[in-house]
Symmetry: C2
Subunit: 482 residues, 2 copies
């Protein structure tokens, strides 16, 4: 399997400047796309689309489902992937995807022959208001993760607890206990004499990886900010990434994509969505503390609907940053402003502008015809959930599914699990195509079929008109493929 | 059963001034304690302790367990209750408790013969740094809840969705649809013509009750603030309250007390604890946005231990308000300040001062020998969880257990469930004493037995030296008792 995967020694250019990554991402010779021209239409490199295929993938009318083809571009672990373009809501498919095996080389003293480890990486990026952020994130996020992990190579491979403090020399991950542990009273105590100072908090290896992923998202966002002018990067994107490292999956989510594990028919949510509704209290709290961020247009209070001037003095339901329930308040002048959070479900918007509250990019996004910036309310930090693959026996039908909201808008965990089990049953357990078949079926069922009244699902409800992208990652076979 | 319960028509004095409640809380004639002198030692009225019994309850050496006695003061629903004083950490028992049946009278036009409903109420208050806040909250919180519910009497009894907007007249809960609903375009549309305007958010009856409870906590906190000088109210308290209203339990928690339901042997957590650890990110976010609240003494960053000046320039693990994982940063001058959150588990403290981050009171609390106030970081708002009693068939062994941290510090959900099932099995299902026996056993097992080396549990570990208070509320019999 590895023959078809580039185990790239990923290195970000020093200073995270405007250079393309030292190694284009995997997928075979000729597939790298380099630095695309601004807002160029592109699809994931691993699809290896010919110009003709690219045109077909870009067709809103046919909405042909795209997958890697067996012979040319099998993904690690026989991962299944499928995608389809939207029904016309944007010119091109604004989803992007990346699948890589990345080698993390220990930051060396001399740059020669150092230790390291691999991680596997799958990610979906759901762009909005332009494709630039999603394209750049799909090319670089894994390199930022690699960069963050480079200082941890020795620490993660050492079974003893991570050192709390390291010498200033950044070029070593030395675990010499005499150098790295100090007792509270100022005396130096080797680790083996006092295993853990009683006022010292235990920090796990796992939480170092989580911290590395969190900071990688932040650096990715910073890079988009710095290069957005020179690279003409427009828009923003949700980011959902799965990292397999030393027996554990780390699923990092910033936005409204979604990941679930299906194990022996059981559903294990591996992410939650970040929207104006789920993050209401964080946003209201920020707006209360920094009212200048609202201009004079918005109120941090939430109301179930717009208030009209003639309703002044009446009592209306509201909730503030402290409340989960609703209560009545007398309507005052200030309450006539537009609510910071407004709308319900998929229509919920922050400052009447955006429906997701975490992600990358969006540095220039403003409220329509105003000078009010959205970015201060958006968080680029993901929530990272961990799944320990070594804790369970996995069979070939156990999978991790990653999907953009195009998938989840018209289906749910249970239906997805049903499709997964149904499709996998009809292929031999050792057929490497079976996960691609699942991904395709998931995309087709969410897209629906074009009828007179638009794209329709089997139950005649409206299909998803959004871009749809899905990874189906088998959990049963990592040992065979790495 | 109701014969022994005061179905108080609870009314807070207008303006929530310094007057005692119009009706002292229930428990039978003569049990009201009125306005206690500052920091007076008192126990829950429903215990009806004689002066001699009160002295015995106040004895740190004997630590006798207190419960209502059958003949004089049975609690609604045969609720079990038991408490014990601490092992000497404070002069008196700083826990307080309240159990009431409260009548909510609709706010009337004339004050005559109006509609209303009852709610059942159980609450525990775990005081710190003085008893004043806990005593006052135990006397008043249910009256504040009652006050908040008074405007909702008609609305909650009307099965149609709550009106979004009410006429300014506070004296009516009128549900006349022509008066209360307006469409977005400015035209008035009666409720029955347009059931719910499509840009209008649905608000449930349940969420109105949650909002009422949340605001009642806020008003309780405001009252403590206003009266703390005149009433010499010292300290603060955690508050855990269970309200049974129209078939549902609302469990409201602000602090580190804990509630669980045990149903058919299954454990259902009904609260979570609010501590510097569980609320770290909220506290760090506030500190970041309002650094002046930290004086110049604290940093909003968290470190696993104190940093020493000589470590400047080295790299240390940290996390900020965005992170769940840990990462290394170069130590700078500012990092030498004391971390906002420090310590682990029961020893975690905010600004080296307090181990709970929600509750009532504490308006004067400052960091030791400084002018830095703690209160801005504390939230008086509870988290409210709802349990619908009508969704399940309950047997006499199904209970809701409320306990202060004195209970939970030395035990866990599973052990408590074990004791509950063990004790209930040894009493007839219709024995009204059985829930009191459970409460007593839970208290005794957490307190332990006095041995040469202090209070010891059955496993010889140290027993809880804290005040311990426990309610055991049967879920199987509400219909029989109301």
């Amino acid at each position: 399997m590895l023959l078809r995967v580039r185990a790239a020694v990923a290195q970000l250019a020093a200073g995270l400047g405007a250079q393309p990554p030292a190694e284009p991402r995997g997928g075979g010779a000729g597939a790298g796309r380099g630095s695309p021209p601004p807002a160029a239409f592109c699809r994931p490199a691993f699809l290896q689309l010919t110009p003709e295929e690219l045109r077909r993938a870009d067709d809103h009318t046919g909405r042909a489902v795209q997958s890697p083809r067996d012979s040319r571009c099998r993904l690690p672990w026989s991962t299944g992937y499928a995608e389809v373009i939207n029904a016309g809501k944007s010119q091109h498919n604004e989803d992007q995807a990346c699948c890589e095996v990345v080698f993390v080389e220990q930051r060396s003293r001399e740059g020669s022959g150092e230790k390291g480890f691999y991680f596997h990486y799958w990610a979906l990026f759901d762009g909005h208001a332009g494709s630039g952020a999603a394209v750049m994130a799909s090319e670089r996020l894994h390199l930022h993760i690699c960069e963050q992990l480079r200082d941890l190579v020795e620490i993660l491979q050492d079974p003893s607890p991570p050192p709390i403090c390291l010498p200033p020399d950044t070029r070593t991950g030395s675990a010499d206990p005499n150098q790295v542990s100090y007792a509270e009273d100022g005396g130096e105590v080797p680790n083996d004499a006092v295993p853990r100072f009683h006022l010292e908090k235990a920090v796990s290896h796992e939480s170092l990886v989580i911290g590395a992923i969190e900071n990688a998202f932040k650096h990715m966002d910073d890079q988009i900010e710095q290069e957005r002018a020179s690279q003409h990067l427009a828009g923003g994107c949700c980011a959902l990434a799965a990292i397999y490292l030393m027996g554990k999956f780390y699923v990092a989510n910033a936005g409204d994509s979604r990941a679930i594990i299906i194990r022996n028919g059981e559903i294990i949510p591996m992410s939650r969505e970040f929207t104006p509704e789920t993050e209401r209290q964080r946003l209201q709290f920020l707006a209360l503390l920094r009212p200048e961020l609202l201009g004079k247009e918005f109120t941090h209070l939430e109301f179930p609907r717009r208030i009209q001037p003639k309703e002044l003095g009446k009592k209306m339901l509201y909730r503030d940053q402290n409340m989960n329930g609703w209560a009545y308040k007398k309507i005052e002048e200030d309450d006539l402003k537009f609510p910071l959070i407004f709308g319900e479900g998929k229509k919920a918007r922050m400052m009447a502008t955006i429906g997701v509250t975490r992600g990358l990019g969006d540095h220039d996004l403003k409220v329509f015809s105003s000078n009010i910036h959205i970015k201060p309310f958006l968080s680029c930090f993901p929530e990272v959930r961990v799944y320990d693959l070594t804790q369970y026996e996995h069979c070939p039908d156990d999978v991790l599914v990653l999907g953009t909201d195009g998938l989840w808008d018209v289906t749910n965990d249970k239906e997805v699990a049903g499709v997964v089990m149904e499709v996998l049953t009809s292929y031999e357990p050792n057929d490497p195509c079976r996960y691609t078949m699942v991904a395709q079926e998931l995309v087709v069922r969410s897209r629906g079929v074009l009828k007179e009244r638009g794209w329709r699902l089997a139950n005649d409800k409206l299909g998803s008109g959004d871009d749809i992208s899905v990874f189906v990652i088998p959990l049963g076979g990592p040992g065979n493929y790495t």
